[in-house]
Symmetry: C2
Subunit: 285 residues, 2 copies
């Protein structure tokens, strides 16, 4: 072993809360990292110490991703700036992509909180839906730069990070629960066919995924185009749903519903199992 253990001088990992550079300015999600969640790693903590290290790594990664983009941020850089070794980063995150997963989980929670707050008091379904989607755009805004990377992995069926894969982390459940609330808190809910009401949360989540896809490809300033798209498309969605009750649309809606039930929902991991009622708001497992 070399006696020139330069590392000796370096202190331990960065301290939890303010450690990440004080005025750094990472977003809400990154800030929440330090709070001590436990999204997707593999560590089984006994002391809070390891949580700190984990948070330091994730926080640093997010900051660097924002600053330089995903591809140009190396694991070595993350480790160095977080004050740990490369191997240590891999002790907490199975791979570089898992860092994104860790971030995505946090952002999803941010979104659920923010959207719920914003919808407070609103009863009109279209309005609620638009608010929820706009909220997502705001929560995600600062990460637009490297969000593409997340979507890339989302499209990989082999990756356990894909939101479409069965065992996909709590993030999906949280998001779907939010949309259940979007519908449930609206004046539209009681008027709907029970069967349709059952499907809608998942469908609305799919709708969000489509919006996200749009957003990822949107290169306009502040993703203004996506915002406009949401503004224009949401009322239409609401109208389609509202109108589905009328006689003329019934046969079509019926067939579509059963198609979705048989093919779409199972594909996104919503097996027709005796699902326990998920309490809206806290998405833990």
């Amino acid at each position: 072993m070399e006696e020139t253990n330069d590392r000796g001088a370096a202190p331990g990992p960065v301290v939890p809360g303010g450690g990440t550079g004080g005025a750094g300015g990472a977003g809400n999600a990154a800030a929440a990292v330090a709070a001590g969640e436990l999204p997707g790693g593999r560590a089984r903590p006994k002391t809070g110490k390891s949580e700190q290290t984990r948070a330091a790594i994730l926080g640093t990664a997010m900051r660097l991703f924002q600053e330089r983009g995903y591809d140009r941020t190396t694991m070595r850089a993350i480790a160095q700036e977080a004050g740990v070794s490369v191997g240590n980063a891999y002790y907490y995150f199975e791979s570089k992509e898992f860092l994104i997963q860790g971030f995505y989980d946090l952002m999803t929670q941010d979104h659920a909180r923010d959207a719920t707050a914003r919808m407070e008091g609103m009863r009109d379904f279209a309005e609620r839906l638009e608010t929820a989607l706009a909220s997502w755009l705001d929560c995600a805004a600062e990460y637009h730069g490297f969000a593409a990377q997340f979507f890339r992995t989302a499209a990989d069926p082999d990756s356990s990070l894909s939101p479409f894969s069965n065992e996909s982390h709590p993030a999906r459940a949280t998001a779907v629960a939010l949309f259940a609330d979007v519908l449930g808190g609206s004046d539209l809910a009681p008027k709907l066919d029970a069967e349709l009401a059952e499907l809608l949360p998942d469908l609305l989540w799919l709708h969000l995924m489509a919006v996200v896809l749009y957003w990822v490809f949107d290169r306009t300033e502040d993703t203004a185009r996506t915002r406009e798209f949401v503004r224009r498309s949401t009322p239409l969605v609401a109208r389609v749903i509202a109108v589905s009750r009328y006689r003329a649309f019934r046969p079509l809606v019926r067939d579509a519903t059963s198609l979705i039930q048989d093919f779409i929902l199972p594909a996104i991991g919503r097996t027709p199992l005796p699902a326990p009622p998920a309490p809206a708001g806290k998405g833990r497992r």
Copy 2:
């Protein structure tokens, strides 16, 4: 699909038509490689020689991708089996992903040919559409293993390989043209609103993209589930289109149409712009 490795030990690049043409390892697409297309590389050929090298590399890559999967196929292995150096492979293909693009272009042409042939004589729109989609599933079947990789890059807006990106290679145009034919050759075409008929080819292409997404995640034997999904969903799509003419649906259809025209089509590169002459510029990132 014989596994006869008849090209193996040749020192130089594989011979032109005969090499792959003979017993050929890979499927139709790979065979067509040798024909001398010029999909997505960067070479500006003067002799036919370089085409041979290019085809040898692409063909070998496809074979190895099928045999071992995308990730477990190294550029070194491709180069070695194709009888060229690593650097040479990069001379013809900007990156490993571009190999997939080269393949995708070929498969798209296969599909267009096959689907057109199969639809011969059919007039019913639903039937034509289902045939076209089933044809795609058949053409793509043998590549299911590494198709995921293609879809991964498709979701990356920074990659010029994305079918959603503006300058996306001829493959998209070919596919859209096919769907225009699906519609145009059907008895439904004359009955349709002109505006709607204008949109439909692109929309149907989007529909295909959705099916592809489903297919990528489908793990059933021979992707039976996707096939069933197509069988069930196609009539519904046809009915929605057919029914859109009736008075009750008009306002909805109108709004949807304009929404699509304003937001969806431009996003997939169908800008109603004054169309500059010939953007010969190669896609960079």
